[in-house]
């Protein structure tokens, strides 16, 4: 496997929630629910 990093152009929002290490549900990220619920009203 080459160690050379392929170049990616980043698209989409830069603040979308993700898991890094085992910190998936730490408070800073868990603040998102209100925004999420507001933007997905018809589920």
């Amino acid at each position: 496997m080459s160690s050379e990093r392929p170049t990616l152009t980043l698209l989409g929002a830069t603040d979308a929630v993700s898991c890094e290490g085992d910190t998936c549900v730490l408070p800073a990220q868990a603040e998102v629910p209100a925004t999420e619920k507001a933007s997905t009203p018809d589920r």
Partner: protein, 225 residues
């Protein structure tokens, strides 16, 4: 029909945002296909391995709240509040997360199953089965026998899965995925690589995924015009 758009997705099983992101991507891809109509290109998905916590034991005797409060030194009430918030997001996305029954475990065997399933054309089904088993059904996804049970439920040969997982047949493929993810600079999951050129990080809104697919498709069509 245009040439298909390739989506490579780095994710883990024990990753609440990965399942939520998976659903949002699927919703976005469906919206993109509907908008594009008959000319819509196929969207081909391949999952790649990313272990968020490779040092997690296969068997952890306790709840998710126990695990997080022990490892993070946080009060159990605070952890419960966090998990309730995540479950709320999942519910808004159409997913039923049950952290009370979730069995915290190491996911390396589950990742090997994903590679096994890929060789049998069932990787997407295996990913969904593992995520649902983990977050919704409280099933164990770390032990070989339990992973093989789930594999059998999507039509894979249980005995052959046990043979493969016992021999770590696909462990090298798991490690290769991790190395490629590192080469891409991926530090969190889910992470989506589109046509090997574009990166999308995190559980984006479905509308964002639809827009990204439309942008990639439009650029490709313009380049071929």
């Amino acid at each position: 029909m245009s040439e298909s758009i390739k989506i490579d997705i780095w994710s883990d099983i024990a990753c609440p945002w990965c399942y939520i992101g998976k659903r949002k991507f699927e919703t976005g891809a469906a919206a993109f296909a509907e908008k594009a109509g008959a000319d819509a290109p196929d969207v081909t998905i391949e999952y790649h391995s990313y272990e968020l916590a490779p040092d997690t034991p296969v068997d952890f005797d306790g709840s998710e709240i126990d695990f997080l409060s022990t490892h993070k030194g946080m009060p159990a009430d605070q952890v419960k509040g966090m998990l309730d918030n995540v479950a709320g997001i999942a519910r808004a996305t159409g997913l039923d997360y049950n952290f009370d029954t979730l069995k915290h475990t190491n996911t390396v065997k589950a990742h090997q199953l994903l590679h096994y399933a890929k060789t049998h054309g069932k990787q997407v089904e295996a990913k969904e089965r593992l995520l649902k088993a983990y977050f919704t059904e409280g099933r164990h996804v770390g032990r070989i026998e339990d992973v093989a049970d789930l594999a059998a439920e999507i039509g894979l040969d249980r005995d052959d899965v046990i043979r493969s997982l016992s021999a770590d047949e696909h462990l090298d493929a798991v490690r290769a995925d991790q190395a490629l993810g590192q080469a891409y600079g991926i530090q969190g999951v889910p992470f989506f690589v589109i046509d090997g050129k574009y990166g999308v990080s995190g559980a984006q809104e479905a509308e964002t995924f639809a827009q990204v697919l439309d942008q990639v498709w439009t650029e490709r069509e313009a380049a071929h015009a």
